[in-house]
Amino acid sequence: MLGYIFKRVLLIIPALLFVSMVSFSMAYLAPGDPAEILLMSPEGSPSPEAIDAFRVRMGLDQPIHIQYLRWLEKVLHGDLGYSFISERPVADAITNSFKATLKLSLVSMIVSIVVSIPLGILAAIKHNTMIDDLCRLGALIGVSIPNFWQAFLLILLFSVHLDWLPVAGYGGGDIEHMILPAITLGTSSAAVTTRLMRSSLLEALSQDYIITARAKGLPERIVIGKHAIKNALIPVVTMLGLNLGFLLNGAVVTEWVFGWPGIGDLVVDSIYQRDFTMIQGSILFIAVIFVTLNLLVDISYTYLNPRIRYESVD
């Protein structure tokens, strides 16, 4: 067990090193010279002196591998540099927006759990009935619906027609501003969890201990409630950690549509503004969060499901 965890943690190092190279090279994948593009003003192209001065100030005059190593050294000390546009520290901007993302993600997670667990249980209990079919169709629609379109439908209904909720914005992070983005963001994760809850409960219900429990004459309510659901929840709970990854992916479009000032919104805006230090920092930050999350999920999964321990680390 300890050996597995150690190996698993060790494998993170090359992955993050790769991520750091990818994030760093973002600025160089873009066509054109970042210094020239950034200094471009309505009056025309910047003077060569201005470009040179900017390059020296931002460290862009060094050879690329030196720039990378310098950047990496600073990053390891927690310094992600300064925004090309606003000149404020990248790390501050990222921490602030990540707080907003985390807040929204947790509410989405709650929305998704409240919807998916009962629906999954219902579908499994009513297996092969109309209710089961509807739950499965709903789950399939949930993973297929484009989140930007769903956001639009929700805004159209609840903000424009009914005028119950604000169209978009942060609004101090109150619950009214959070409802529609949380539903939008939680939908795909709710769909995936419903399917998993259903199949997990169906599997649990076909196990020998359920047959024994029924044979003992236990009422169905206790067989399902106490024996089956309890066991069926194990994979569902571990999957919830992975769902946070889903939520991060969904955050890109959802936050942007609702003007929610999270990390997804930050990345989209930085790309529009070609704010390369901000792009580099955010991608690296998101990757570190994502990798840590996956590690925790893996470890908890290994802990809950001993069978996996004997398999190799891939």
């Binding site: 629609i141 297929s144 639009f152 169906l202 990854g245 992916n249 790309i271």
Partner: protein, 276 residues
């Protein structure tokens, strides 16, 4: 084959997919108008007999744009999955069959790509490479290929140790012969399933990136960018956004139905564990 038709998911998914391919192939015949024809006289018209889905802010026929948009979405889906399959199969095979240092290097590369949440990686790549369909497809291949490499490698690792492979080797078969004749047929099923689901995912992600302005550029009719066009007229003309979104959802749903159905039929584990 008869079981496949009987499988409801496959039937629904396949029917919609065939219809979509038909619409895309015969777009000029199906569409009532030219999808890029600007007509200021009929701006923001609600659905009518002449314009069944209404017109957009430039007076273009939304139905015609959706019909032609199916070409873009299907093309992006198929190209992204073919590219990812090619890279995934080659690297996954090297990794799984030959093992050793190559396996380590390839798997660390996969870990690296998987360390960035896919939408962020695709967005950052599409965004920095610049807008356009080619860059969009490259960005999506970069996030998709890893799952194929992993599945191919995993399947090869299990098949490789089977007796029929050992027997073939004992009879003097070459690595290439074993790969093509013994291993490939056995790993085909999982690949077909994830490729089908992958097309749906690629279409959805491509529409999302185009919606943000990083993918296919106007005036090309593309479903995601049509939704983006409609944002400003949401109150006055909601139909501009309703129909393209519906088109994306139905298309993605079709591939998900198909993928789910194929998994039920092709993957013996699922057939046993999750009864229908």
């Amino acid at each position: 084959m008869r079981a496949w038709i009987k499988n409801r998911n496959i039937f629904i998914g396949l029917s919609i997919t065939v219809a979509l391919i038909f619409i895309a192939a015969f777009a000029p015949q199906v569409a009532p108008h030219d999808p890029t024809e600007i007509n200021p006289m009929v701006r923001l018209q609600p659905p009518s007999k002449e314009y069944p889905f209404g017109t957009d802010h430039m007076g273009r026929c939304i139905l015609s744009r959706i019909v032609f948009g199916s070409r873009i979405s299907l093309l992006v889906g198929v190209v992204v999955i073919s590219g990812s399959l090619l890279i995934g199969i080659v690297l996954g095979t090297i990794s799984g069959y030959f093992g050793g240092l190559a396996d380590d290097l390839i798997m660390r590369l996969v870990d690296g790509f998987l360390a960035i949440p896919s939408m962020f990686l695709a967005l950052a790549l599409a965004g920095t490479l610049g807008p356009g369909m080619f860059n969009l497809m490259m960005a999506l291949i970069a996030v998709e290929w890893t799952s194929y490499a992993r599945v191919v490698r995993g399947s090869i690792l299990t098949v490789k140790e089977q007796e029929f492979v050992e027997a073939a080797r004992g009879l003097g078969a070459s690595d290439l012969y074993i790969l093509v004749h013994h291993i490939m047929p056995n790993i085909l099923s999982p690949i077909i399933v994830i490729a089908t689901l992958g097309i749906g995912y690629a279409i959805l992600a491509a529409a999302g990136l185009s919606f943000l302005g990083f993918g296919v550029q106007p005036p090309t009719p593309e479903w995601g960018s049509m939704l983006d066009d409609g944002r400003l007229f949401m109150r006055k003309a909601p139909y501009i956004m309703i129909f393209p979104g519906l088109a994306i959802m139905i298309t993605v749903l079709a591939f998900n139905f198909l993928g789910d159905g194929l998994r039920d039929e092709l993957d013996p584990r699922f057939r046993k564990e999750i009864p229908h």
